[in-house]
């Protein structure tokens, strides 16, 4: 007999915890980037399709110093964005390396107990990160986006 059903909460515990505390849900304001840092953005998805994600990343030299996101999507999407932002920001690594260290979305799903039918949402998050990496590659080190206040 399955004594774990019905579960009191349809969201897995890691998702519920992250969804309830979206600490990294914001824009990185240019003034919060250190002098000489680059502010890059990466965006993917469309609201019409149920998921839209936008990352704002502060990169100083090659090092990632600040990660924020905004997202429209299901609780799994928002929780995964928060988890990704937390992991990236705390890595203190080069952005590319930090993204590589995250692993593929299937691994995020495993860590957060996200059901397989939501994997498509996580791919949108990955696409947003890829877009940020592409922008980073195309933006020179001193892009004039930072302010020295």
């Amino acid at each position: 007999m399955n004594l774990t059903w019905p579960q009191p909460d349809p969201l897995p515990a890691p998702v519920r915890a992250l969804f309830g505390q979206l600490r990294h849900a914001a824009e990185v304001r240019p003034v919060r980037c250190a002098r000489g840092a680059r502010l890059v953005h990466g965006e993917a998805g469309r609201e019409r399709h149920g998921t839209r994600v936008r990352f704002s990343l502060c990169v100083h030299g090659e090092q990632l110093t600040r990660v924020r996101f905004r997202a429209y999507g299901c609780p799994y999407t928002l929780a995964a964005c928060e988890w990704v932002a937390l992991r990236l920001e705390s890595s203190g690594e080069d952005l590319r390396l930090a993204v590589q260290t995250l692993g593929p979305p299937a691994e995020w799903a495993g860590a957060l107990q996200i059901p397989p039918d939501r994997l498509g949402r996580l791919l949108v998050i990955e696409d947003a990160l890829t877009a940020a990496l592409n922008e980073l590659a195309s933006v020179p080190a001193d892009n004039g986006m930072t302010e020295s206040l």
Binding site: F19, L22, E47, A71, C74, P75, D117, R118, G120
Partner: protein, 386 residues
């Protein structure tokens, strides 16, 4: 219920069983009670049969029909299936065309889809932007080979009421039977079959503080021979629905109907007041849009879209409330409500809607808590949206 339980505002999905209903049901379960099979000829069986027929009279009184014109079913889904499939299959020599509405309950839509697989044609009528069907559309849709029109009384998602009397008059002119799904109206507003003018009407117990698993189909005397059963084996319910009658559920349904007859008017006043209070609070949220006609509706259902907010996140963020979203939460397809789409809401708005439904036990404090919780969560989710 303990104090930590979420506020229940989902009475359109189901209602708690009234304690008086539960007590009557309990009398029919154990050895000391009326546990017999109503088809048995011995005393136990006859006692059970008496309870079943008493309940039939109670249920029939709720919709103002003779008791012998009610058939017990497992609920409104089965009633709708029996009415639609049973009528169409029995009338196959006369025609293969049905008329219904895009905003009907899935049990009607899927029954029609089933018939399409069997070679029938179905005309799905559109409503206006407020969910109302122009009865003249029915007139236009009727054909010489139309064998049934099926239109719901109150919509389960948005609560709007269709003009059944006008539709019935048109059907009568053309000699086409009308089936009405009254799951969301019977026991909540006045439902008088003679006045409505339909030949078939579905209703169910669990929306009116009765048990789940029991419903009924009203079948006009003139239609009885023109209905093909779906379930065979014993010829119960005059051959229209075989199977041992669940006495406890039937008795519960009967008591629920009697209680509804006594209190539907005061319930309706309470529900309308609470619904208006709820909308009055929610309409202050930027981007809140009422779905469905503002006044032609059952008292207890309110459906609101919140522009720019994802429906499932909103629902999951409202841990203090038990309400429904129109979106398909468990599907990656994120298929928005077909009812709201039929009203012309775009997929984002359809996906961002919540259905609130109040009932006999709802209180002002609960409505106020709901307003505060929804306002807070919509703001939180909007703040994280790109």
């Amino acid at each position: 219920m303990n104090d930590d339980a979420p506020v229940y505002l989902d009475y359109a999905a189901t209602s708690p069983v009234d304690a008086r209903v539960a007590a009557a049901m309990a009398e029919c379960l154990t050895r000391a009670g009326t546990f017999g099979n109503p088809s048995s000829m011995h005393l136990h069986g006859r006692r059970a049969r008496a309870r079943v027929e008493s309940a039939r009279a109670q249920a029939a009184a709720l919709i103002h029909v003779p008791p012998q014109q009610l058939v017990w079913t497992s609920g409104a889904t089965e009633s709708n299936n029996l009415a639609i499939l049973g009528t169409a299959r029995a009338a196959v020599r006369r025609g293969r065309h049905l008329v219904t509405v895009r905003t009907e309950h899935k049990s009607v839509i899927d029954s029609c889809h089933r018939l399409e697989h069997e070679g029938f044609r179905v005309t799905y009528l559109d409503t206006d932007g407020e969910g109302l069907l122009d009865p003249q559309q029915v007139r236009t849709a009727l054909r010489d080979d139309t064998v049934l029109v099926s239109v719901m009384h109150a919509n389960n998602e948005i609560g709007v009421l269709q003009d059944i009397e006008a539709i019935a008059a048109i059907c009568r002119e053309r000699g086409v039977p009308l089936h009405v799904d009254a799951s969301q109206s019977a026991g909540k507003i006045a439902v008088d079959v003679e006045r409505l003018g339909c030949e078939l009407l579905s209703f169910t117990a669990h929306k009116i503080y009765g048990p789940k698993g029991i419903g009924a189909l009203y079948v006009a005397q003139s239609r009885r021979a023109a209905l093909q059963p779906l379930i065979f084996g014993g010829g119960h319910e005059r051959g229209l629905r075989s199977g041992t009658l669940p006495v406890h559920q039937i008795v519960g349904f009967g008591v629920a109907c009697e209680l509804a007859m006594q209190s539907w008017q005061s319930d309706a006043v309470l529900c309308q007041r609470l619904r208006e209070r709820l909308w009055s609070g929610l309409r202050g949220i930027d981007g809140a849009l009422l779905n469905g006609h503002p006044t032609r509706r059952v008292p207890g259902i309110l459906n609101v879209s919140f522009a720019g907010v994802e429906g499932e996140s909103l629902l999951m963020g409202l841990t203090d409330l038990s309400v429904s979203t129109s979106s398909a939460c468990n599907s990656d397809s994120d298929e928005p409500s077909y009812v709201l789409r039929a009203l012309g809401r775009d997929s984002e708005l359809a996906q961002s809607s919540l259905r609130f439904s109040v009932g006999r036990d709802s209180r002002e404090q609960e409505v106020d808590l709901a307003i505060a919780a929804v306002t807070r969560e919509v703001r939180r989710l909007r703040a994280v949206t790109p």
